[in-house]
């Protein structure tokens, strides 16, 4: 389990995250954190005419799981409707991370970008 978490693919995302930064003129702009461990994310997204996710960027700091999850998430959600985002679950995130089973202590880390986007889309 532990070794799964620190295998090459996740470490690559952690050290060289995709879509790192802040979108100008974003439709969704949300900050979200896990106070238990201090993981923090600032997530911005643009939606297309039908409300689908068109572009996402994130900034933040946290553990390998939360940062790699955020990096991969910015690609995974492209094209999804708000309903599809709302329907995404831990299972989807675990599959996205390469089919790992997260320990209970790591679930919140992995869910950081999803929870942030759900919250941001609710508010927008």
């Amino acid at each position: 389990m532990t070794s799964d978490l620190y295998r090459e693919q996740l470490l690559d995302h952690y050290h060289n995250p995709n879509n790192y930064g802040v979108l100008e003129g974003a439709d969704v702009d949300v900050e979200w954190d896990n106070p238990t461990c201090g993981d923090k994310i600032h997530l911005t997204a643009k939606l297309d005419a039908e409300g689908r996710v068109a572009e996402v960027m994130f900034e933040g700091h946290g553990c390998v799981v939360s940062m790699a999850s955020s990096s991969m998430f910015t690609e995974r959600v492209i094209g999804k409707t708000p309903e599809e985002v709302a329907a995404m679950s831990l299972d989807d995130i675990q599959e996205m991370l390469g089919g790992i089973r997260l320990s209970m202590g790591r679930v919140r880390c992995a869910l950081l970008p999803l929870n942030a986007l759900k919250r941001g889309m609710d508010a927008s």
Binding site: M1, P35, T36, S103, M104, G105, R106
Partner: protein, 408 residues
């Protein structure tokens, strides 16, 4: 499927001991039940294999302990058919559960001039918290009376509910003294129609019969692990909407989301009500107890106890000068409280103990109920899965000895 009491007794290591050279006849499960090996083993296994503090650890041991702890919560949720595992709060005992509701829900929702309705047959755990809440808030405490037959006299309830001032009705699912099984679902319907919530004390019911919180009509229900083959912990179930609207009760670790120097934000259910380190192995043990009882079948357990109770009431009637209080066997759970003309309850308990028979004597934490019967104390025998007719026979023989010693 009838219970195989001989096989069940093999599961409980304590029945290998004798008392005063006599076979152990344990007839005090209403106070606390014995524990099967499976429960003891589940706890030992945590301590010898997977112990660590829960919820905050990222290492394997902590993950195993947390998983075992939360799995046990899930088992308990299924045991009472809770719609949502987060509605199951793990506490010290049933008493703490009822106090939590009286403090947290009560202080927020019961004000001066409001009414709290309880019954005369409540255990002190479902009585004193409401009595003290009423005093603190300047509310009125009203009692549903108990009839001579040991039943609730529901005739007064519509009148008490009519003015809409009643905020809560608290009622036991089964009396721990007279064994009465009140018509709680009807009470709940009437209470809800009048805008009150319903708090049920399931301490004597959950261990002995199928209980489904989704059809029961309760808003809260408390019960005890130690009366259902588990260790000394308790459970509070409550409806999510109510639990979410309530302030926390105890403050500390695990129940918070964020703590700043000047304020704090609360964690999600169920953690909001579980401050500090919980009894981890004990919760796992209670999960194992729920498994053990479910495997026997709660319907089978209930049927077995009805038979035992009918047999016991029949045989108790043979004892000279002995009077059982409460309703007939078809209307009660597996307890029989009684008094004897020739002997004080203390003496009854002590004398039958010499024969290996364990029964309780006193007011059984139900003084107001005893006042209804004008008795300061009674002796009480109660039945569980490991009791059979031979246990009742041993009790009856010992009670005849009480008369021989003390009748004059």
């Amino acid at each position: 499927m009838a219970l195989d009491v001989q096989a069940i007794r093999q599961d409980f290591p304590i029945f290998q001991r004798e008392v005063h050279g006599k076979r152990l006849v344990f007839l005090d499960s209403a106070a606390s039940s014995q524990k099967p090996q499976a429960v003891i083993d589940a706890m030992t296994r945590i301590y010898t294999h997977s112990y660590a503090n829960v919820h905050r650890g990222l290492y394997t041991l902590a993950d195993e302990a947390t998983t075992a702890y939360e799995d046990a919560r899930g088992k308990l949720a299924r045991f009472i058919n809770a719609a949502d595992t987060a509605e199951v709060i793990l506490l010290r005992n049933a008493t703490e559960g009822l106090n939590l509701v009286a403090y947290s829900w009560g202080e927020q929702n019961v004000g001066a001039g409001d009414r709290i309705i309880i019954t005369e047959m409540e255990h002190h755990a479902n009585l004193v918290p409401w009595q003290q809440l009423a005093q603190r808030q300047g509310a009125e405490l009203a009692y549903i009376p108990v009839t001579e037959a040991g039943e609730l006299d529901l005739d007064v309830l519509p009148g008490l509910l009519a003015d809409g001032r009643t905020k809560v009705v608290a009622c036991s699912l089964m009396s721990n003294v007279v064994g009465t099984l009140p018509p709680v679902t009807r009470v709940a319907e009437m209470a809800h129609a009048a805008g009150a919530i319903v708090v049920m004390d399931g301490a004597q019911a959950v261990p002995h019969q199928p209980v489904d919180v989704q059809t029961l009509g309760a808003d809260f229900m408390a019960f005890s692990g130690h009366k259902m083959c588990g260790p000394g912990i308790g459970v509070l179930w409550g409806r999510r909407e109510l639990l979410e609207a309530m302030p926390p009760f105890l403050y500390g670790g695990d129940m918070i989301r964020t703590v700043k120097k000047t304020y704090a934000q609360w964690n999600d259910l169920p953690h909001k009500f579980e401050a500090g380190t919980p009894p981890i192995a004990e919760v796992v043990g209670l999960g194992a107890a729920a498994d053990y009882l479910s495997a026997l079948g709660m319907d089978a357990i209930h049927a077995h106890e009805r038979e035992m109770t009918a047999y016991a009431l029949e045989r108790l009637a043979e004892v000279d000068g002995l009077h059982v209080i409460g309703p007939g066997a078809d209307r009660r759970g597996g307890v029989a409280a009684f008094w004897m003309e020739a002997a004080h309850p203390h003496d009854i308990a002590s004398i039958v103990d010499a024969e290996g028979v364990c029964i309780r004597a006193g007011h059984h934490c139900a003084q107001p109920l005893h006042e209804c019967f004008n008795l300061p104390a009674t002796a009480r025998a109660s039945f569980y899965i490991y009791n059979d007719e031979a246990d009742v026979d041993a009790l009856i023989a010992a009670l005849h000895k009480v008369n021989r010693l003390l009748q004059r």
